[in-house]
Symmetry: C2
Subunit: 511 residues, 2 copies
């Protein structure tokens, strides 16, 4: 029997407890789509809120929310209609299509075959005599296939439209609004979180490659002659693990360990804004439970970069099963997009400098995939305590789907009624609360740990008789005692981050 991987374990718990599972399972499923249950919906929402806290709220950046369906003109202007394609090999026997680079990688163990280009891909398919992985049939020569979802807008003789494969075009199309709203001053940024769809040829890897997913990204517009980031000092001493383009080209295995400030000074990171967002991103990933040692930034080689990019760093985290995995890209898009939209729309998107010269603003874009991060948050926070046979997700208190669980010790003597009063008190104060009276208290603690609830409030005879209760910490299993009246204020302090668990009450010493 093959070894169960950590990915398998997480996937099994995710399905059993209702974080997420493959979509349309009652109709035989459809690869590339995922359904989030109660816990997953809440975890995903909390990660999104944390991202906005790190990338939008504190900087005062502007948000935007644009449609998923876009008319074809948009993607003609953006270059996607020409470029958003993958080499696809179709089977002459069963008719199914497969990504040629993936087939080559599976057969040969080579990495990043996509970056080698079409000629190499065609050659490698022949050299390695690659056949259909489903039926063994002969494959046609790979051709470039557009991987956007196509539709018709207007039910009768309308216009062709596509589902957007990224959210960035909205920020470019609405640049003029943003610039005016920012009182015609650079730098400013437009941020968006929203659904995108990519018609992947043959999606695999479950949560790591889905056809419909949520992107969180922002476009920072700046003057290339005044490229300074006023907040760089907040992150310049952060140490990152960096692979430069040169290191990548030379196949260097060990990363350069360097501060962001130095990497910018030495020109390894082209702009201060990239450096800033890489630093913010590293701190954000820490909230998801990924320490800096398990993060790295890897420059794209020229042939690997998207059509719009002058320099891109993949932000990668180390997953146990999948190894180093991209969770974000930080791209220096230059003036590529605004220039294209300017040409296509005929509208002026230039900005006037004080010296009277005009220029098209440059753009730096950090971009995160929310679905993948949801998996990362689970894997990074997972602990198995074998002795106690417990699964624990040590999710940050900002991310936990439910903040607190309320348990009556037993289901008699008025304890459930008292516990329900406590639950209602917390609901009135705005907390996300689980109430659970089913099974032994030990089993209920185990269930709470397995869904990452940071605090459990236990209601016992002391609560009924003396209005005191205990709170138990998910991570240490320690307990403190306090009065019912103190509870809401204490929990508010804890979830605001003003207090640690030990400060919430009087330690309970176990006999």
């Amino acid at each position: 029997m093959p070894q169960q991987t950590l990915y398998d374990t997480i996937t099994e718990i995710a399905k059993r407890r209702g974080f997420y599972w493959p979509s349309f399972d009652i109709y035989g499923g459809m690869s590339g789509f995922v359904t989030y249950g109660d816990l997953g919906t809440k975890l995903k929402r909390n990660i999104e809120a944390a991202w906005k806290d790190f990338f939008v709220r504190k900087q005062g950046f502007l948000e935007i929310d644009d449609p998923l369906i876009n008319p074809e003109r948009v993607f003609r202007a953006s270059g996607h209609l020409d470029n958003f394609k993958e080499y696809t090999a179709q089977c002459t026997k069963c008719g199914k299509g497969f990504r040629a680079d993936h087939l080559i990688q599976d057969k040969t163990g080579l990495e990043n075959v996509e970056a080698m280009g079409g000629d190499a891909i065609k050659r490698l398919m022949v050299e390695h005599r690659i056949r259909c992985p489903e039926c063994g049939g002969e494959l046609k020569e790979p051709t470039l296939i557009l991987t956007m979802f196509k539709t018709e807008i207007g039910a009768t003789g309308g216009e062709t439209g596509y589902l957007r494969p990224e959210t960035a075009q909205a920020m470019f199309m609405n640049f003029r609004w943003g610039f005016s709203h920012a009182r015609e001053k650079l730098p400013f940024a437009l941020a968006q979180t929203g659904k995108v769809a990519r018609n992947e040829i043959s999606p695999r890897q479950g949560m790591l490659r889905v056809r419909e997913f949520t992107i969180m990204e922002l476009e920072l517009f700046f003057d290339p002659q005044s490229p300074g980031c006023p907040w760089l000092r907040h992150v310049e001493n952060s140490v990152i693990r960096l692979y430069t383009e040169k290191m990548e080209a030379e196949g260097v295995k060990e990363p350069l360990i360097i501060t962001i400030g130095d990497a910018v000074k030495q020109g390894l990171i082209l702009t201060e804004w990239q450096g800033y967002f890489m630093g913010v991103g590293q701190a954000f990933m820490d909230v998801l439970g990924v320490p800096p040692e398990k993060q790295r930034f890897r420059a794209h080689l020229p042939e690997e970069r998207a059509h719009y990019s002058a320099q891109t760093f993949d932000h990668e985290v180390k997953l146990e099963t999948w190894g180093w995995t991209e969770i974000s890209g930080c791209a220096y898009r230059t003036d590529f997009d605004l220039s294209n939209h300017m040409k296509a729309s005929g509208l002026d998107m230039t900005v006037l400098r004080e010296d009277g010269t005009r220029f098209v603003p440059h753009v730096v874009e950090p971009s995160y995939g929310l679905d993948r991060l949801t998996y990362v948050a689970l894997e990074a926070s997972y602990e198995r305590r074998d002795k106690e046979k417990r699964n624990i997700f040590h999710l940050d208190r900002r991310l936990a789907p439910y903040q607190v669980a309320v348990f009556p010790l037993v289901t008699r003597d008025g304890l459930p009624e008292k516990a329900q009063q406590v639950r209602d008190l917390l609901l009135r104060r705005g907390f996300w609360v689980i109430y659970d009276e089913g099974g032994s208290i030990g089993r209920r603690y185990a269930r709470a740990d397995e869904v990452g609830v940071p605090l459990v409030v236990a209601v016992d005879y002391d609560t009924r008789d003396r209005d005191t209760l205990t709170i138990r910490d998910r991570d240490t299993w320690r307990q403190v005692s306090l009065t019912v009246a103190e509870l809401p204020g204490v929990l508010e302090s804890y979830f605001k981050g003003d207090k640690e668990f030990e400060d919430l009450g009087v330690p309970v010493v176990k006999e």
Copy 2:
């Protein structure tokens, strides 16, 4: 010159200040799509959060988040493939298509023509000699056209898919997961907020009829033999304005003013769950600024009801320009959907009663359109103070896009630096803050009113010298004074609803 309507006024402010505007405007636009700017994105998010607070968090209902793209099998089972259609008349000259019922309504002033059915629609088109509204050409006889967006899943020879026109099917397809997660007990509910898309034939009315929008809905599953709602008592004394099916059929003009409890007791509302959600919905709309007197619940006539419904009430609010406007439907879907999916999937979706009998659960569904509510929140909270030439949005403190603005009185003598310290203090405490030092303080107050910021903190010489500042209330323009150290705690109490404006400090008496 035609009179400017309130809708025009709101639309103009919305565009100018960046709440929302028509999408793809740099490429000539595309009707039926809307782009939200910074303020609109935030307002919409806050309305969604309020909805979850009213409909999900307090009841402990389960959330779910399913894909927008669904394979065809799903909509075959749900009945949408046969039923999600509109009578469409295509022009023989210009080729454009139009909704026949809308054309008839425009020409004749008749209401709700859709409900009259296909024969009546075809007859009325001929009787009133209706021609193409664009080119005057002759129209073909109306035919039923599917109004879901179609696409192909899988870029090479995949499966047909559609964008979902409602989110409800996800809750039905995942009923078995929900039931198991609810420990195999009824009643329970699955709630979802998410994007849907309807390929409207000829969308009009701007924000009130868009092709891509966000729905907030939940499916409450219950045993028709135990139809009680444990929370009905929370709303049973709420007075609603009701039009029953009988009143509608008889054309009664004045609503029945009745408590929800009585309407349920008298059988006018078929189930306690509908009554409960109608009560919650009325309270929710109060947060948006719509008092009960401007709300009503109107039963659908049998021919107007969707294919799955035994009784539906439209929840309508009175808008100045558009009159009574549907913002929600509360439908009793019976066992229609689960039975269909059971048949199509071959999976058992019945539930066992204690007496050993099996049954398919019944469903009550309240469903809200978030985009329309965003407009409603603006119109309902709008005030024009002609004397002062001010626009004010009196948005509830839970909905306001920004919670607080910080203004230095003047841009010299160290006041901007002091004001930035205050801003940073509030940002660290998690508030959404606008900082503004441009123009006279009066102009800045006017700008803040026009985007609905509840509180403005003014930093003046007293702040620099004595660490005191003033807060100004958007609604009354009154001011109170307090110390910088008190500010964060005071604002937290205000936004939690624990304190009113008058309690935030010492009243400032204007000389």
